[in-house]
């Protein structure tokens, strides 16, 4: 009925997994209950205002205050509290089967993602998390600088990334689809433009994706792309960015080994294509003021096209 209003890839009321589902159910129960209570209180107020004399005398009795203000709330709130705490316990419980382990580090203003194997990083990506449907995921959340908050509402509630501690969030997608997440703790300048994608795939598609991400960067054969790669390295991009299989091994900025496979760039700010890549490289401060990448506006039009074509080929 009103699902058009509450559906979307970043909606807590359009759940794609059991944690978000249980919270959504709680939400609807509370909205319905709250709505009924609100209506009753307003009706009582209306009665007190409009109905004259004797017929409203019952409402001025102190027992109305005791029942309405003490007894009824204590009963309802206690029941609600127990229900809510039981959901919280279920959500934070350790998953039964072995979860997929991912670590996410909050940065100003992007997300550094490591897929772990036996507790150690197997490969790194950025702003882009792919997970298989039906398997629990265990995300270890930390920060490199200030407090951020990891929030993908369609799958789970949020959890903060706080210096000096590691917070663990578990979630599980039940439904194929692309879910969007966004930083939910003000982290300075471009906080509004710090988003990420969570893509829920079938198991075999996820395995294919993971194998692809584990490999080093595709070596280009086309001469235009090779020129792009040369310019990329010559311009010093490798001092901040890593492209595995090349000499670029900087870790200040996002890993670009498979940047061409991502849905968006600049942490969800722009779609991913040669045009936006070019705009970002030459003038990122215009697109996302306060982000940590300096502008590289010295490249000529053709050179920039070569570099962006090379990056686009890194699938």
């Amino acid at each position: 009925m009103w699902t058009w209003m509450v559906s979307g890839p970043q909606s807590a009321l359009d759940p794609g997994g059991p944690h978000a589902s249980s919270i959504a159910t709680l939400s609807w129960i509370m909205f319905a209950g709250g709505g009924v209570i609100f209506l009753i209180v307003m009706l009582l107020l209306g009665w007190a205002l409009v109905v004259p004399g004797r017929r409203s005398a019952w409402l001025s009795n102190i027992y109305v205050v005791v029942v309405g203000g003490i007894a009824f709330p204590i009963v309802t709130l206690s029941a609600l509290l127990i229900y809510g705490l039981s959901i919280a316990r279920t959500i934070t419980a350790m998953p039964g089967e072995a979860p997929l382990e991912i670590s996410v580090v909050g940065e100003q203003f992007w997300w550094r993602v490591h897929y772990l194997e036996n507790g150690k990083p197997a490969f790194e990506t950025a702003n882009d998390i792919h997970i298989p449907v039906g398997q629990p995921v265990r995300l270890s959340l930390t920060t490199a600088d200030v407090i951020h908050s990891f929030w993908v509402p369609s799958l789970a509630g949020k959890l903060d990334m706080i210096p000096g501690q590691t917070n663990v969030l578990t979630l599980k997608p039940d439904r194929l689809g692309v879910y969007r997440g966004q930083c939910a703790e003000f982290c300075g300048g471009a906080h509004a433009l710090m988003a990420f994608d969570v893509v829920a795939l079938a198991q075999d598609q996820f395995d294919a994706w993971r194998n692809g991400q584990s490999r080093a960067a595709r070596e280009p054969t086309d001469p235009f792309l090779r020129r792009g790669k040369k310019l990329f390295l010559a311009a010093g991009c490798g001092s901040c960015h890593t492209v595995r299989g090349t000499s670029a091994d900087g870790t200040i900025g996002p890993d670009l080994t498979h940047v061409g496979s991502r849905r968006s760039i600049a942490a969800g700010t722009l779609p991913n294509n040669r045009g936006t890549l070019g705009g970002w490289i030459s003038g990122s401060q215009h697109l996302k003021p306060g982000n940590k990448m300096p502008p590289f506006d010295m490249l000529s039009g053709q050179d920039l096209l070569a570099v962006t074509s090379y990056l686009e080929s890194l699938k």
Binding site: M5, V6, S7, G8, P9, Q10, A12, L13, D14, S22, I23, M30, G34, F38, V41, M42, L45, W47, A48, L49, P52, G53, S56, A57, L59, S60, V64, V65, G68, G69, I74, L77, L80, L81, G84, L85, I87, A88, R89, I91, D145, V146, I147, S149, W151, A156, G157, K158, I162, P163, Q165, V168, R180, A184, F186, G188, H191, A192, P289, G290
Partner: protein, 849 residues
């Protein structure tokens, strides 16, 4: 209604009439405000209250304009009205100004204006203190607001979480403006709290026992209690963050043994009671307005009072519900969720009591009544969403989204702004010669009610479908566009309502001689005929609604037939009464206007603001001048018994001076010690919290100062207290005492205290420990540093007391100044000993990390 009734012959009146020739003229003359430019030095609560309310309303409008700019920016996705940087300053200032420069000052201002009137006192017990609190707020607040015009406004949100607000990630002075700018607000609030606690408990109309006290007085008492126990947490927090930013003391830096969560605990331990500081006075006002609009007494008075007190207590137990998403353990989550459920119960009691009262009477839909109804609608809705966000899993989705923005605007606008407007329409006839227009008032209400709901209701949805808080723009296509546009429309409707109100206010409000009278038929004492002197005589009350139930009261009061219709000492006086049964105890002589008060406030604000821009020498100079101004202002006070006991009427003879636990000055010092004690407790909490989160930074026993040092410091502390106690005994010997001996012993306490502090400081310094090294070191030096601050303050107080003694203004009877110094001295020594104990013993007991 009752003004024309004949007084009840069964109750004899304290004084006969007609009153002697010239008595009323002398009373009026004493209370006349100063003329010409000196008018700004006025201290009478009526004028200070009006200035205060006006300034708070100005900040409401200014912060509202900031919100209008924000809403216009958000009306469509990818808006370009303001830059990202400007928007971040706008939302920070909107929140900070609304919470610190509007909401708390506004409810405090109404208390300054209304409380004495409601209790038939001629003024608050410390008139110069409330004037100081106002002017410090006025100068400092306006300067703080101007930072937005030069792009230096704080930009890390109104709760400025570190590490974002630490110097590494916020290198400019924007955050310093917040930290030092809020300093004078904290001073204002504490001063107000002292004033109100002493005012409510010690200056009521005779016969107004606790059970007959207006609900508003109860609400203000709890409000002041909340300030006393909650504000110290933020005072400490802002001090710690400023020390971290300025000197690198790493309280909140995880890598150096600090903790960002420490800030959150300190901030929210203040921050949650803060919202009840804002709401409870408004609820108190509603409990005064509803009986009048229904023309019936409040139903369940005792339950309502209990509910207000319960809210106050429980509000200290819920702060972690602002931190549900920080990764704290399940047990903590459960406790704080349960407490958050509990805190809503007392509010429910009050709502039903108000509905019951309206049912028991017959409500006329005047403008105040409309705003009360609007309040009930909006606040109830906000309270219900409050229960929702108190549920942990729901908060994990709603926290830091527009759902929360919707919730708190509903409870704050519904719970405070609507009662405020009801209060304006209700009490302006008491303050002004003409009342506001009822016709325009309906339009103001309609626009504001519609506007608030249109602006904020959609935000519940916007937040749950994914829009986080504090974003200067958002992408199209998530379903947020239309909702944001509707919210922006609503904001303009609210603005229209407020603008219409201001138009009518400028047209109608006329302060000065006379008022429009008891136009609503209220039953409580603020509706007695009044002037600058409050009431011509101070009545004895026998019921909760004296104007309804005590026949002829208004006439008798105005004719001077009740207590103290004159001013026998020739100055400004009111009756001090006992806290429980309000029986008269003494007549207090209160000081009048003085330039010292206003200058002290100006130089206090200047001190904080110059420190912010790092002009240290001018700042220190202003600080010294501010202290000098305070001492000059105090010099007129503590007059001693300048007059033999006076006859206030009804056979009651009262002294005009009191010392010891019965005196208002003693009570004020006790409240100040509670503030200081809470601050110290927060500091001890911080020390232990840093140990819990970073035990590896705690020293081994051999790195600590050898135990001889703290023992020596403790001995010096104890000796200084003994000196003060000895001086007290010497003073009490009366005329036979040796003044020289007293002066000497008194003076001796100062070098002993300074020696204690210096020993304490040197003990740590000589181990090589330096504050910037770690969170542990910073905590130790903060404990020592706080002692240093007290040492300085106490030394100044002692020198002042000595000056009083040397100029013959201190003796066995006239000893309030000495008593206050003595109280704070013993407190400072106790704090010093406690600090030594924890810093010396704790690391030895827990072993090294």
């Amino acid at each position: 209604m009752t003004d024309k009734m004949q007084h009840d012959p069964a109750m004899p009146l304290p004084n006969g009439s007609p009153r002697p020739e010239g008595e009323f003229e002398r009373l009026k003359a004493t209370w006349e405000p100063p003329r010409g430019i000196s008018f700004v030095t006025v201290v009478n609560n009526t004028y200070v209250g009006l200035f205060y309310i006006g300034t708070a309303f100005l900040f409401f409008v200014l912060a509202g304009i900031l919100a209008m700019i924000m809403r216009t920016q958000l009306a469509a996705p990818q808006g370009t009205l303001v830059s990202q940087e400007t928007y971040n300053q706008l939302f920070t200032m909107h929140g900070t100004v609304m919470m610190f420069l509007f909401a708390v000052p506004a409810v405090e201002a109404l208390g300054v204006y209304l409380l004495p009137n409601m209790q038939a006192a001629r003024d608050l017990p410390f008139p110069r203190l409330s004037a100081y609190a106002f002017w410090a707020y006025f100068f400092g607040g306006l300067a703080f607001f101007c930072t937005i015009f030069v792009g230096l406004a704080p930009d890390a949100g109104w709760f400025i979480y570190p590490p974002l607000s630490s110097s590494e990630y916020s290198p400019g002075i924007n955050i310093d403006f917040w930290l030092l700018g809020i300093g004078f607000i904290e001073i204002s609030a504490i001063a107000g709290a002292i004033e109100i606690i002493v005012g409510v408990l010690k200056t009521r109309a005779p016969g107004m026992s606790l059970d007959k006290m207006p609900v508003y007085s109860w609400a203000m008492l709890v409000f002041a209690g909340l300030i006393v126990f909650a504000f110290p947490a933020i005072i400490l927090g802002t001090a710690l963050l400023e020390l971290e930013r300025a000197f690198g003391w790493p309280f909140f830096i995880a890598e150096k043994g600090g903790s960002p969560l420490l800030w959150q605990h300190l901030f929210w331990f203040f921050g949650h009671p803060e919202v009840y500081i804002i709401f409870l006075p408004a609820a108190g006002m509603v409990s005064m307005i509803v009986p009048t609009i229904a023309q019936a007494p409040l139903v369940a008075y005792r339950l309502v009072v209990l509910a207000i007190i319960a809210t106050g207590f429980i509000s200290f137990g819920v702060w972690v519900h602002h931190m549900f998403t920080t990764g704290i353990p399940q047990l903590s989550l459960s406790f704080f969720s349960a407490a958050s459920m509990a805190v809503s119960v007392p509010s429910g009691i009050q709502v039903f009591a108000w509905i019951a009262t309206m049912a028991s009477g017959r409500v006329r839909l005047t403008t105040p009544a409309l705003f009360i109804i609007g309040f009930l609608f909006i606040f109830t809705l906000g309270g219900l969403t409050g229960v929702m966000v108190g549920m942990v899993p729901f908060d994990w989705q709603a926290h830091d989204t527009y759902f929360i923005v919707a919730h708190f605007h509903y409870v704050l606008i519904g719970g405070m702004v609507f009662p405020l407007f009801a209060a304006f329409y209700y009490w302006i006839p008491q303050a002004s010669r003409t009342r506001l227009s009822e016709r325009v008032g309906r339009w103001v209400f309609g626009l504001m009610f519609a506007g608030v709901n249109i602006t904020f209701f959609p935000m519940h949805i916007t937040g749950l479908i994914g829009m986080p808080r504090r974003v200067y723009t958002y992408p199209a296509g998530f379903g947020w566009d239309a909702l944001n546009f509707v919210s922006t429309l609503g904001a303009f409707i609210i603005a229209a309502g407020v603008a219409l109100f201001i138009f009518d206010l400028l047209r109608r409000f006329r302060a000065g001689e006379g008022n429009a009278g008891n136009v609503w038929g209220g039953g409580t004492l603020e509706w007695l005929p009044s002037g600058n002197y409050a009431n011509r005589s101070i009545p004895r009350v026998t019921t909760r609604y004296p104007l309804w139930e005590q026949p002829g009261l208004a006439d008798d009061v105005a004719a001077g037939r009740f207590y103290l219709p004159d001013n026998p000492t020739g100055g400004r006086e009111t009756i001090v009464t006992s806290p429980l049964h309000a029986e008269p105890q003494y007549v207090v002589q209160m000081p009048g206007p003085s330039w010292a008060t206003l200058l002290a406030a100006f130089f206090t604000a200047a001190f904080f603001l110059l420190l912010t821009v790092k002009l240290v020498t001018p700042a220190l100079a202003c600080g010294v001048i501010a202290v000098a101004m305070v001492l000059w202002w105090l010099w007129d006070t503590d007059p001693g018994p300048t007059h033999p006991p006076v006859d206030i009427g009804g056979g009651i003879r009262l002294p005009v001076y009191a010392t010891g636990p019965v005196s208002h000055a003693w009570w004020a010092m006790v409240v100040l010690m509670l503030v200081g004690g809470t601050l110290f407790a927060c500091l001890l909490f911080s020390y232990v919290f840093l140990w819990v989160t970073n035990p590896s930074f705690w020293p081994a026993a051999d790195a600590l100062p050898p135990i001889g040092w703290p023992v020596l410091a403790a001995a010096f502390y104890a000796a200084s207290s003994i000196a003060i106690a000895t001086a007290s005994r010497l003073l009490g010997r009366g005329p036979g005492r040796s003044v020289a001996a007293f002066n000497l012993v008194l003076f001796a306490a100062m070098p002993l205290l300074i020696a204690a502090f210096t020993t304490d400081l040197w003990a740590h310094w000589q181990t090589g420990l330096r504050a910037p090294k770690s969170g542990y070191a910073a905590a130790v030096y903060m404990i020592v540093g706080l002692q240093g601050f007290y040492t300085g303050v106490l030394s100044i107080m002692l020198a002042y007391t000595l000056a009083r003694s040397l100029t013959g203004r201190l003796n066995a009877v006239r000893r309030s100044t000495f008593d206050n110094t003595m109280l704070l001295w013993h407190f400072g020594v106790a704090q010093g000993l406690a600090g030594l104990a924890i810093v010396t013993l704790f690391p030895r007991l827990v072993g090294s990390g």
